[in-house]
Symmetry: C2
Subunit: 340 residues, 2 copies
């Protein structure tokens, strides 16, 4: 069994390795940290840690490096998430405080997060599964063009253009608008599609065609809204930390472009201590990201929607700092969007 001091040794191995990118040996541990014991003792502890597969030696005679399992223990038991400094805190508030609308808030958030962590930052748009229709607007642009605008109570707005055959009858458009809103405002997105498909039935045959065109466009908009989107920033950090990705960042860049992968990954993350979750190294192998870790947390909006935000980087990353930053930003964002 690994002793108390053994875990402490694991902690400094993780810390030193993350800081220096070099395998850490028993000698350098006693030099840099005051354990009050000799290098030989540390060596004994390290032998135990190696038995538990928490650390490993790249070559027969070199220092040790944390394994994925070692990082896991570090994250779960050893990392101290000290709160951000007041200055950092103030930076967050100052930076996000000036935002105009939801898009702007999230765009600022993702940049902020990448600056705080020096990693690739990810922010998921609030999932709209549980949000409701707030308003539907039909705007005639010309004789044969119509714009449909679709607004949810989480502040998301989506518009689409629509070409129609016959010239638009303004009066009828007003009636259609009123009836659409009457039928849909307050309805959850999951049910909205169903309501829409039956909607045209209540109209006289000569109107059906137009109404069906409009409702099917709206159905598309509902479905498009359900698909989550992802914002990203800080991809240049991948080049900086390239060696840590086992030689090539190609699969990482691919996953980033293929947002679906990252969304699935987010979806599999569970909330853990302090609301911050981490997926480490090979735990992501199924996504082609075996040398990559993701740290994420949930945030919530006034509508009761939840979404995730986090950072992605090499397995060898500064978990303490990144988890603290993710937690702080998630909390602040929840507060900002909650008092809506």
């Amino acid at each position: 069994m690994v002793s108390e001091r053994g875990l402490e040794v694991l902690r400094v191995i993780v810390q030193d390795y993350v800081a220096s990118r070099e395998p850490v040996g028993s000698k350098s541990i006693v030099d840099r940290h005051s354990f009050g014991v000799s290098a030989a003792t540390i060596r004994n502890d390290m032998a135990l840690l190696e038995d538990e597969e928490l650390i490993a030696a790249p070559h027969t005679s070199s220092g040790r490096v944390p394994t994925d399992k070692g990082y896991r223990v570090f994250v779960d038991q050893l990392a101290d998430l000290r709160p951000l400094s007041p200055a950092q805190r103030q930076a967050i508030e100052g930076f996000l405080g000036e935002s105009i609308d939801l898009d702007d808030v999230l765009a600022r958030t993702v940049r902020l997060l990448s600056q705080l962590t020096h990693q690739v930052a990810l922010v998921q748009y609030p999932s709209l599964a549980s949000s409701r229709v707030r308003h539907i607007e039909l705007v005639p642009l010309s004789d044969t063009r119509l714009m449909t605008v679709f607004i949810t109570d989480s502040g998301r707005v989506e518009q689409r253009l629509l070409d129609i055959q016959s010239p638009i009858d303004e009066t009828f458009l007003g009636e259609l608008r009123a009836r659409l809103n009457a039928a849909l405002v307050g309805v959850g997105l999951t049910d909205a599609a169903a309501s829409l498909t039956a909607f045209a039935d209540g109209f006289p045959p000569e109107r059906r065609h137009l109404v069906t065109q409009v409702t099917s466009t709206l159905v598309e908009q509902v479905l498009a809204n359900r698909q989550d989107r992802l914002l990203m920033a800080g991809t240049a950090n991948l080049a900086r930390t390239e060696e840590d990705f086992g030689g090539s960042i190609f699969p990482v860049l691919e996953a980033i472009e293929e947002q679906v992968t990252l969304l699935r990954l987010f979806g599999e993350m569970e909330v853990e201590t302090g609301g911050v979750a981490a997926r480490i190294g090979r735990e992501n192998a199924g996504f082609g990201l075996g040398e990559t870790s993701v740290v994420s947390s949930e945030y919530s909006t006034s509508g009761g929607n939840v979404a995730r935000l986090g950072v992605l980087g090499p397995t060898r990353m500064d978990y303490s700092n990144n988890m603290a930053a993710v937690r702080a930003v998630a909390r602040y964002l929840s507060r900002l969007l909650g008092t809506d």
Copy 2:
């Protein structure tokens, strides 16, 4: 002076070097191409090409590599832009043909272009400097929330949310909407901001506050619209071609994230032969992209707006293929958006 055959030698050096990534020597040239002369003769030609600084030798005794100037001559005089194959052409039409709206067209375009060229693809949103206001819509969302929607004749739609103090008077809102549209529809974006600042003067003092709030939001939207945006795809290709970027793709990823840089670069590009322009290697040094080339072309929309689209990759890229692809996509896109 460089002879006719000398230029032919330059062409095969560029082609072979791009294909193999290895300096090409006189022997391999006579082996792979039928010049009908001996290696010594080719060597004489190569000596001349070197005098003109069109090629260079990495080491005293190795094959030659094109210089930036060599690529420039290749692009301007030697590259044959054979049209795409019917199959490729059909792929373009099939892929872009199904698009729904402007956003969707451009998103598909950029992905298509990166697939055709295996490089990072860039598509600029149509510059709105020369486009006009088509419609303004004010949508009350609740007692104290208003959404402003701003539509241009190039099909761009932008919305913003607005909190106001006093409850909204629906009738007045209708009047405001009508007067805004009367004053602005058809006005160019460059003049719209000016019209808006004076707009509130025509209203009674008790209405001024609300009107000013609305108009200043609209001014913001006008200005935001003038800022060009850029879509990108295929960044994973940077990892594939990494060695060609002098070791690190960091500055490239940085420039990509800092869209302003790329937009300035686009802005400096002149149209050349066949409508396709290229900026090669050190010509981009001012942007921190000294080992990067950009191939781009213009496309136009029905509103008379023009914007650029292109690809970005290492100096050592397949200019023939990329220029042909950029030209074809730009032409097809112009046709698609022109018959609007």
